[in-house]
Symmetry: C2
Subunit: 343 residues, 2 copies
DNA sequence: CTGAAAGCGCTTACAG
DNA sequence: CTGAAAGCGCTTACAG
């Protein structure tokens, strides 16, 4: 291992100049004579010199490294966000490190310490709502971290958060989805997943209720089941709803928090002998790569995750204190159909 | 922003000791009197001090940050590897940054420069075979990088690579899969995906041919289609095979390079009116989260990706020059069945 | 057990 | 246009 890297001193003596001059050509300053610049560049080439970003960071007070906190990478939704953020960071010369909430949660000592010690130039935090435990952690961690580095939020934006963020207007999106279903004649529309205590003003429940109201439909508590954003949770939730309701009250459409939940719901429907979309329309969210390959292909909402990640990096680095709302698009596939009337 | 962080000098004067002493308690050295240690710790607490890993890195010649190069994160297979690696790194006090091949490829200047300038303590490289262009890049990049930092390989291990690695024995795995199918009576077994020029001694093709030989079946060129590891490529490949073959020669089983390819194959089969598994058995690889939710649930091979990632980090940090082979497990689901004989 | 001093590899005023 | 010098915030021998 070449742990004794070439240094700026080596280049300086090789080129017969001072380290200040080497530093100047390194940083592309203009006030260097062409001849000198050439000499230095040759030396760099010859010795295969790469400046240490560590030493550079110590003086320049900037590390060119960013961090991102995500719930988990195993849901492709977050992998898309991460990819978008990472690529944008890369383009701008920054490195991106991942810090999953889970590892912070389980950490005995100050969860933020590792981030602070790294002297990151900025941090993207992606919040997924969950009750109490997590919310408390999030709030505390955010309040600490933002004293040390710029923070941009992605995903849910808690009402107490007054910083730059890029989020999807889940309320508007959900209202549109409900509308999509009511226009197909659905009146018994279930919503599965999410957290009851969610206080994000743009949360799905707001839009769900608005959407129902738009169509003059009542809000039916038994059609609203909360739960985690996993396939297992989705299946369990729909199982429970169907098993607890007389058949005549079964929903004709179910909106899932995300595609994983939708997958679980499809499974549950299948096991209950419900044809999709004949007897039950299902719609997901996130538009995961597998949505088109499910049977039937799952209608979902593309929330432009990569773009969201990239935009968060831009906000982070530009220092703009904006709060932005992302685009989304309903991807119509075969899992939703007009409500089946008659027998 | 608190960019003027508290330094070791602040702590020293606050505690009335020298910075050397502060450094000692920081690093948990034992040769410090309890009283002094206490004073220092109090000062640290009071001033909310976090040592700079940057300054520390400059002297200690170690950054406690690792890198991982992956083909892409959007295939959950790689997200699992990354997650396993990241979590293990975290446990050991290391940070993990992602560098996708794509961003290195498209980079005009030396693709390795960014990694070297970061002075990473180690690098995990996950290689996915693809012809020419990529292989040349991989070889060159690896040869440069390993002069600057320890490198551990994951995935395919090119024959010219003589370094630590943790890989799946794809040959043994594939032989076992073929056996699984021949025991169910299949004789026309297709293999879809991968690169013809692959030279990894553990590559799938080796096992495929062995498996066929085990059952005294001929190798049939038209059952072997190469291609990318995407669903689209999988669909196109099977489409092409079926369309080019008389119905009586259609395979009764298809092995896909990975689950994405398998998903594409299932789609193709469906469009060709082939029931799965009645007329066509399909088996994938990687055991993605969605495999159980496909119709029918996809039989696949779990290759313990998270464990692989974690193990790679351990090798990297221990400096062992071992080459390890990972476990794998056949996950039997409903997409494979005994060959349909008679009408 | 503790401190003074040098050094890690850069950048940044400050002179010239 | 170029160099000498100080400084970034730590760690590490070296004395005592």
């Amino acid at each position: 291992m070449n742990s004794d890297h070439t240094t700026i001193y080596d280049i300086a003596s090789e080129a017969g100049v001072s380290i200040a001059t080497v530093s100047r050509v390194l940083r592309g300053e203009t006030n260097v004579s062409p001849a000198t610049r050439e000499k230095v560049q040759q030396a760099i080439e010859r010795l295969n010199y790469r400046p240490s970003s560590i030493a550079r960071g110590l003086t320049s007070k900037t590390t060119h490294s960013l961090g991102i906190i995500l719930p988990k990478l195993l849901n492709p939704h977050y992998a898309m966000i991460f990819t978008g953020a990472q690529e944008e960071a890369r383009k701008l010369g920054y490195t991106m490190s991942l810090f999953p909430w889970a590892s912070l949660d389980t950490d005995a000592y100050n969860p933020a310490a590792m981030l602070i010690e790294r002297r990151l130039d900025g941090l993207i935090v992606c919040v997924e709502y969950s009750p109490k435990d997590h919310d408390e952690l999030v709030r505390e961690a955010l309040n600490t971290l933002r004293r040390y580095m710029p923070v941009v939020l992605i995903g849910c934006v808690p009402p107490w958060y007054d910083f730059p963020a890029v989020a999807c207007d889940n309320a508007a999106m959900m209202r549109r989805i409900v509308q999509y279903l009511t226009r197909m004649g659905h009146e018994k529309i279930a919503l599965i997943g999410g957290v009851k205590e969610d206080t994000d003003p743009l949360r799905r429940d707001v839009g769900y209720e608005k959407g129902l109201a738009d169509a003059k439909l009542p809000y039916t508590a038994s059609y609203r089941v909360f739960g985690k954003g996993t396939a297992e949770a989705g299946k369990a939730a729909l199982d429970q709803m169907l098993d607890g309701l007389k058949r005549e009250y079964w929903p004709t459409a179910v909106i899932a928090l995300n595609d994983l939940v939708a997958m679980g719901c499809m499974q549950s429907a299948r096991e209950h002998g419900l044809g999709i979309p004949e007897q039950l329309s299902v719609i997901g969210c996130d538009d995961l790569f597998c949505a088109p390959y499910l049977t039937p292909p799952l209608t979902s909402v593309n929330t432009r995750q990569q773009q969201t990640g990239a935009r968060a990096v831009q906000l982070l680095l530009s220092g703009e204190q904006k709060r932005e709302t992302t685009d989304w698009e309903l991807m119509e596939r075969a899992s939703c159909a007009p409500v089946h009337t008659g027998i």
